[in-house]
Amino acid sequence: MTFALIIISALILGCAAVAMALRNLIHSALLLIGSWAGVAAFYLWAGAEFVAFAQILIYIGAISMVVLFAVLLTRQGDAPEPVEFPSLSRFVTGLIAGGGVAGVLIGAILGMPFDVRTAQSAPALSVKELGAQLMGPHAVSLLVIGLLLTVALLGAVLLASDRRPDQPEDTP
């Protein structure tokens, strides 16, 4: 089973790295979406079907569209300006920031109690139990997330609609 894990992690990390290096913004966005697909494959490997399909549905279905629209509407075409490396100070500050984030992440992962090595043999959780769990103990967090999403939705609607004040909403 570890052989599949290696392939999947290679896929995820590879796509992310290449996405970072490419000049063409659209290609890098698509590679980012590729790495999300890799994450979904990882969930499948780990036996959590529901989370994998949710990942595909949400990330590849919707958020990829948001990323691509954002890329399109902000930049005209794919000719990025050349990035210059003038000074050592920019390199050092970059290193410090990257190192800090990496440190926090690794600390959090190592501190977790569950045992990484036996992940794949976790019991296959059926969707019904997952639903019960969500509606039971975790109901509060579900409602908060729901609230957050609706607020975001309303914000988007307000932001988009006041662009044309004189265009009546219900034109024929």
Binding site: R163, R164, D166, Q167, P168, T171, P172
Partner: protein, 390 residues
Amino acid sequence: MSVSDLSSFTPSSGPTVRAVKDPFHGDLLEVSMGPQHPSTHGVFRMVVTLDGEVVVKLKPVFGYLHRNHEKIAENTTYLGSMPYTDRLDYLCSMTTNWAYALAVEKLAGQAVPDRAQYLRVILAEMTRLVNHSCLVGFLFNDLGTSFTPLLYAFREREKILDLFEALSGSRMMCNFQRFGGCRVDPTPEWLAAASRLVDNYPRFLDEYETMLTANEIMLARTQGIGILDAKLAVNAGITGPCLRASGYNYDLRKVDGYGFYPRFDFKVPLGAHGDTYDRYMMRILEMRESVKILQQAFRDLPGGPVMDPKAKIRGFRPKAGEAYGRIESPKGELGFYLISDGTPNPYRYRVRPPSLINLTLLEEMCLGHTIADSVVILGSVDIVLGEVDR
């Protein structure tokens, strides 16, 4: 109404047109819905400036089918121009022939026997059925159906064109009217077949109305689209179903009373809003009126000669002078203005094309609508490029 304010007349009742340049909008997109376009009914071109979906500016471009029909007419005899009039509005050749014959008879003072007058009314109303069923079919094609209403309309049109072929020899290029009457006297079988066809024509109209007139998508796509104001339409010379759809009662069959139309009682339908839906309904209701006229005409068609015996085929030289004859063709007022100088060829031969002049207000109708609507509005105005470009 002084001169100044009319030329800058903005359609008050139409959709609001955004005058101020909105910073949020990027550059305007100019689309040339060019001569080769699936829904411009022939080689007609509209240079449309789009702001996103909405039409901001629309310039029609003509001349792709220009054959200089009037110059040709000046170099041929009066009779020689008759087959060319079929090619003006190639959907209704009988009414165009009649308009030309009417103008020349007015120019030369030529009498026409009763049976020929009745036959002309019969053929003109059958042409109106052909043209309106064509238009309604093409309008639904522009609205996006996959050819079904068009083929129902064509099924009915073909039956009438077969009758024209049996009478004049050709389906669309009939070349049937002469100065002083008609060329061929219809046989009794032809008359029986024609009246049978006319009697069950309303069945086709009922099928059409149940299928499409109350269709929600049709109502959404055509009501309130391309509104034409009656006063502006009169000033812009719009005639025919487009003018009556705006509620203005002007039908040459009632106003001029040419031919034997005063002998038939028929009603002229009027619209209320002047939008694309009204223009569509005008055609449907006019078809029902034409069926009534045809039934009366078949009932009391007199006997007698079809051609005035004194009329001369060759060596026809009307006296010097001029005349302007006009009829109510299915598209509007079709007029022929002839100046003769005594020679067999006309000195000046002018066609007043309803299709071209009905396009005067195309831009005012399309402003503020989306590009999908401008195609539908053009379809509802019913133009034929042979007549527009001559």
